[in-house]
């Protein structure tokens, strides 16, 4: 436990923390210039990414049994921090005068980083909370609408319930094993002891709740719809990635046990079907994305069925593809008269004729989310289903594929609205082009998308 290791191994966390502190100081000093705050936040995130790139191959455990880093955690952190940058950029227009937004977002990222390095439930729990608590509030910031407070409340109550279930599970696990180490939990996954299985199931349920798997999904559509667009993007990408990657850390590379197979196959399958079906009727883009994210959470947990070694790669690749597409779509939505109008699917009608670039970007995102080749979403889904099949769950793979076909309908519905439906005139009138920062966020995502679409092999080799 040398000081040097603590300094180096926790560099990303330190940099984020420095960013948080600096932002708070700026806030106290009374500087509320949005661009200044934004650049501090972006620099902090970028510095953390740079530090991790620099530390490639480094591994250390500055707090034995509590916190360790290695290529895997660094990679996960770098990927998710990189995804947060476009969120920050597109948030500029909405949160120009909400100073606390940026430190909250960085705190959430801090919590995420902690989870990725957690070796014990103590660290994991703290990370989960540090990631979640700021998001409860981010949902209601930029109060454009009264509903956002309601959304925050729902998210908070069910998030708190998830925390409690998680803790109950940990507690039972602790009672059974006398330790809080994650490695012991991984071995408990295949236990048949009723106490251990209860503990495992409760922890898993908590993760399902946080990741919005049916029937624990109910908060997600409400919270996503209530939040403003950048925050929805953040929840749908970074927070979801955090939860799934943390769950992955629990599972390690151990093969799935009979105990977890059912939970990891049936509930995600139900999520895929439920999410894809319910998304069909939505009139709000965010709500639609919420249901789509419920389905995508299903695919992500499906990946856990695959054999251990390929799991991390499949999940991270899926997350990259999924998050890039969501961010691309969110960044490209032209800003409307207000947040609700902007979000309404009706306002997308005839978008292609008004702003072809935005329509093409959103269209591409939809096609990719639907999993149509050659877009990244296809490779990602393919990777997962291939692993699931290779692990011998052909039936589940086929059912999942069939379920994913249901989703094509509503993704294409958006495309149909944009390209083939005449505009509803009033919506079009109030529309203005997105700010240049939102555009650059879209451009970043576009570059990422093209990279992943054209060189998926190369991206996979990095994972």
């Amino acid at each position: 436990m040398s000081g040097e290791a603590i300094l180096i191994a926790m560099m990303p966390e330190h940099l984020l923390l420095a960013g948080i502190v600096f932002l708070i100081v700026l806030e106290i000093a009374g500087s509320t210039r949005g661009s200044q705050l934004l650049s501090v936040a972006v620099v902090a995130a970028a510095a953390a990414i740079a530090a991790m790139l620099h530390l490639q191959g480094y591994s250390a455990a500055p707090f034995a049994g509590q916190f360790s880093v290695g290529p895997g955690p660094f990679l996960a952190k770098a990927v998710v921090l990189a995804l947060a940058v476009p969120v920050l950029l597109m948030a500029r227009d909405d949160f120009a005068d909400d100073g606390p937004f940026y430190p909250l977002l960085l705190s959430s990222l801090y919590g995420f980083c902690l989870m990725m390095s957690a070796d014990s439930f103590l660290t994991l729990f703290l990370g989960l909370e540090i990631m979640s608590v700021p998001v409860y509030v981010m949902v209601l910031l930029a109060f454009r609408r009264p509903e956002s407070v309601e959304a925050a409340l729902k998210y908070l109550v069910l998030g708190g319930t998830a925390t409690a279930l998680f803790l109950m599970g940990i507690s039972l696990f602790y009672g059974g094993k006398g330790t809080l180490a994650l490695s012991a939990f991984t071995s408990a996954l295949s236990s048949t002891d009723p106490m251990a299985t209860t503990a495992v199931v409760l922890v898993l349920v908590a993760f399902f709740l946080k990741a919005a798997i049916v029937p624990f999904h109910a908060w997600a559509p409400d919270a996503y719809e209530g939040a403003s667009i950048p925050v929805t993007a953040f929840m749908a990408t970074v927070v979801k990635a955090g939860v799934v990657l943390a769950a992955l850390r629990l599972f390690g590379t151990a093969p799935v046990s009979p105990l977890t197979i059912d939970l990891l196959a049936i509930l995600p399958l139900v999520s895929i079907v439920w999410g894809n079906l319910t998304a069909m009727r939505q009139t709000s883009f965010r709500r639609m994305i919420a249901y789509s994210s419920i389905a995508h959470a299903g695919y992500l947990f499906y990946a856990f069925l695959g054999a251990g070694p390929g799991r991390f790669q499949a999940v991270v690749f899926y997350l990259i593809a999924y998050a890039l597409m969501n961010l691309l779509a969110f960044a490209s939505i032209p800003s409307g008269k207000d947040d609700t109008a902007r979000d309404n699917l009706d306002s997308m009608k005839g978008l292609f004729h008004r702003s072809p670039y935005a329509a093409l970007m959103i269209g591409m995102a939809m096609l990719s989310l639907a999993g149509i080749p050659p877009f990244p979403g296809f490779v990602a889904k393919f990777l997962i289903f291939k692993n699931v099949m290779a692990a011998g769950f052909t039936l589940y793979a086929v059912l999942g594929l069939v379920g994913s076909y249901l989703g094509i309908y509503f993704y294409l519905r958006v495309i149909q609205f944009m390209f083939m439906t005449p505009a509803a005139q009033p919506a079009a009138a109030a529309e203005r082009e997105s700010g240049h920062l939102a555009l650059s966020a879209g451009a970043i995502c576009l570059v990422g998308t093209v990279l992943v679409a054209v060189f998926p092999g190369w991206v996979m080799s990095l994972l």
Binding site: F125, L126, Y136, A151, L156, A164, T179
Partner: protein
Amino acid sequence: MDKLQFLVFVSVALFALGLLGVIVRRNLLVMLMCMELMLNGVNLSLVSFAQQTGTASGAVLVFLIFVVAAAEIAVAIPIVLLLVRRKRTLETDAYSDLKG
């Protein structure tokens, strides 16, 4: 029923009571307090197990839960204040505009 079993039973029962409170009580503040009750239930079993196994980590987790509970309440109460300011009611079902 030995002491440990009894304590775990109490712990689980408190947890369930808390969850029940979230499900059945219409008052927002009561709901929040019930969430606290859930955490208290978890704490009891953690302390019992820590005592049983003689390891410190359970107790440390209890300490962390204190802090987290405080943080959650610190965030939750302003949110409730905001809600009440808008609709002048603490009834949970009044806040169900988002649906579908």
